[in-house]
């Protein structure tokens, strides 16, 4: 009878469950960009509801490593937020 050794074939999900210290950490932080893709909302200085999501309590622009916005869209976000600040929306 064959014994199924599924336990060793599986990759560890939690980094604390690793078998040895030198095993690679597989559960990396990965998320898709919320502003790019097919049905993504348009980034515009008039779209105040969307811009307010990417701003901290003290009106600073959030870094992309927290919001996981792509590099191209982050550049566009900053320029649109600055335009909205001129008109007094934010």
């Amino acid at each position: 009878m064959k014994r199924k050794n599924n336990k060793f074939n599986k990759r560890p999900q939690n980094p604390l469950n690793k078998l040895s210290l030198f095993q690679k950490n597989d559960s990396r932080f990965s998320k898709k960009c919320p502003l790019s893709g097919k049905d993504a909302p348009t980034v515009d200085y008039k779209n105040i509801k969307l811009l307010k999501r990417y701003i901290s309590d003290t009106d600073k622009i959030m870094p992309s490593r927290i919001t996981s916005v792509s590099q191209n869209k982050q550049r566009k976000l900053t320029s649109e937020i600055k335009k909205a600040k001129i008109l007094g929306f934010i």
Partner: protein, 113 residues
């Protein structure tokens, strides 16, 4: 010819005929310098996030037009001198999105009732 969007912020304490004069003044500037007005939106009285020149509120007027560089200089020159305006902003676009309106005018009369 390129597409542009232009927004004005007028002072809070203006009367309605004065606001109509301002709106007419800038449409005339665009049409006189061989431009073409596509759409005019009035956003009405809105609150600022922070005070601008000691004002808490302002009237917003939004233009969408097609013009050349000459009209932009004219608009900028006139709106810097204009005493009834607080701020202004022009943005260049490759394609104008005419249909979607992010900000709609709230009827002040309905709120009072």
């Amino acid at each position: 010819m390129n597409f542009y969007e232009h927004t004005l912020i007028a002072k809070q304490d203006l009367s309605t005929p004065e606001l109509e004069n301002i709106e007419k003044k800038y449409t005339d500037i665009i049409t006189k310098t061989a431009g073409k007005v596509i759409k005019v939106e009035k956003w009405g009285l809105m609150n600022f996030a922070k005070k601008i020149k000691a004002y808490n509120k302002g009237f917003y007027i939004h233009y969408k037009f097609e013009a050349e560089n000459k009209t932009l200089e004219e608009i900028k020159r006139k709106s810097v001198i204009d005493n009834s305006l607080l701020r202004h902003l022009t943005v260049k676009y490759k394609k104008l999105d005419v249909e979607t309106e992010y900000i709609k005018e709230k009827d002040i009369n309905e709120k009072k009732k």
